[in-house]
Amino acid sequence: MPHTLAEKILLAHSDADEVTPGDIVMVRCDVVMTNDISGPMAFRAMEKMGAKRVFDPEKVVLVPDHFVPAKDTRSAELQKLLRKWAEEQGVTYYEQGRGGIEHTLLVEEGWVVPGSVIAGGDSHTCTYGALGAFGTGLGSTDIAACLASGTFWQAVPATIRVEFTGEKQRFVTGKDLILAVIGEIGVAGGTNMALEFVGDGAEALSIDERLAVANMAVEAGSETGFFPADETVAQYLDGRTTRPWTAERSDPDAGFAQTVRIDLDFLSPLVAMPHSPGNVVPLDQAIGQRIDQVYIGNCSNGTLTDLRQAAEMLRGRRVSPRTRAIVVPATQRVYREALAEGLLDLFVEAGAMVSAPTCGACFGGGNGVLAPGENAITTTNRNFKGRMGSSEARVHLANAWVAAAAAVAGEIVDPAELGAAA
């Protein structure tokens, strides 16, 4: 019987002999990840389950990244608990200053390989689909079960085949590709589904751009989203991981619930307008919107690629007097690479603030939350009402070129009009 990639991965990670969409299976995790928000709550639930030790310390990784550096005593207590628990359990723990935002971090640290299953206590765990993994976001009680038994229950998803064809135009990035998908199928269009990203346009994307695409699969309501592994993934993993993996893809005659085609030859930069990632318009419909804050960072678009794009706009220019810009490299590694390339100095020279890696303002945790009436443009993944602070603030989602161009102009502009600085 032909299978989709999602079905193949779940077959390989469960006791089922056969699966069809809708079947509920117990799925074995290759990695379980949790953070300073979902972790402490999960530890409590695990204790209630009667489990004293994690199922396999080698497969558990803890990353404090949400309220870091601690914004108040309560947050500091959570982080202290995370550290102590990691020591007691003998699991991997990335201390602040040696890690970064969990999803970017786990990918760059070699935890993620194609075909693996990763359960994460954060909804953007689908980011790991960039490398062809089945990463799925779970709540704390689910994570407790994963920590205790290495398994979670999962309804086998049907698959939406997302085909990117043609060639990406200038100033279009992975961000625009996924915004196009969410605009097309809607914020609930992927419910009970996995998104599988294929086509020559998908294959041409770098790992950083694939991270941006896979990251926002959850914004379409999907269980997860992934790119079948290819040569780009193999090259990325070479020397980065010792975990075994094989490249799998959907069988040619596998059954898909739906096919979505996005022609990149005709795709312009997009903006998700307040207050939904599904409220997607072409950039030209957002032009002229005054901007109080630009925020470049987070688990979807805080990579070196994003910082380079922002730098292209800001080189030799100044952030507009009426705007503030905050740049948040996703991990310490991205931070150091950007430092070595002179990007951080360039941002500071331009009048932007460079922050340490953190989830920070993306979810309203701190580090740049918004006041009532303010307008922001960000490279983050959610612009729900109140997501970044005041419920009377308005957040626009866009790629790093568009966000950085807005920093220079003080309003949303077409980066092509501004042009890359000399």
Partner: protein, 168 residues
């Protein structure tokens, strides 16, 4: 399993986790204290309508977004006994089930319910009654019924772990 409650109704679709429980308060660990922030970004006055017997009636894709379990934890602690919706977002739905908080899909019941309606959920019969009128709920897989019956994932997993722990 039968549950009854008075309806509190949230009509909007795509109500996200951030308005249900804003990120700012995610460092709260005491469940009783979480109740003070439930619905904070949506309509804080809804909190005053919750009692020991509330049935929350919601629209489509309810609970979209984050994996934060604070939302259903605060709901249970605020006296919400079950949810009836047009549809639910994935992680929110999982979290409800895992916490033993029934969330059932019944669009016709949602349409029929008004604030204060008397709701009767009968999981075995697969119906939800609205002021005495029964409506079908979307069938619930056996596995999830088992989870509800056990009281959620914690007791369910407790039993699993007991069964697999070698004796002696």
């Amino acid at each position: 399993m039968r549950l009854s409650g008075r309806a509190v109704v949230i009509r909007q679709d795509d109500v996200d986790t951030d308005v249900l429980y804003p990120g700012e308060y995610l460092n709260v660990t005491d469940v009783e204290k979480m109740t003070a922030y439930l619905f904070e970004g949506l309509d804080p006055s809804l909190r005053d309508e919750l009692g020991g017997d509330t049935a929350l009636v919601v629209g489509s894709n309810f609970g979209a977004g984050s994996s934060r379990e604070h939302v259903p934890q605060a709901m249970s602690a605020s006296g919400i006994r079950f949810l009836v919706g047009k549809s639910f977002a994935r992680i929110f739905y999982r979290n409800c089930i895992n916490l033993g908080l029934p969330a059932v899909v019944a669009p016709e019941a949602v349409a029929a319910a008004a604030p204060g309606s008397a709701l009767e959920l009968d999981l075995d019969a697969g119906t939800v009654g609205v002021d005495g009128r029964p409506f079908s709920i979307k069938p619930i897989p056996d596995f999830l019924r088992e989870m509800f019956a056990a009281g959620g994932l914690v007791p369910w997993m407790q039993a699993q772990l007991d069964a697999t722990t070698p004796v002696g």
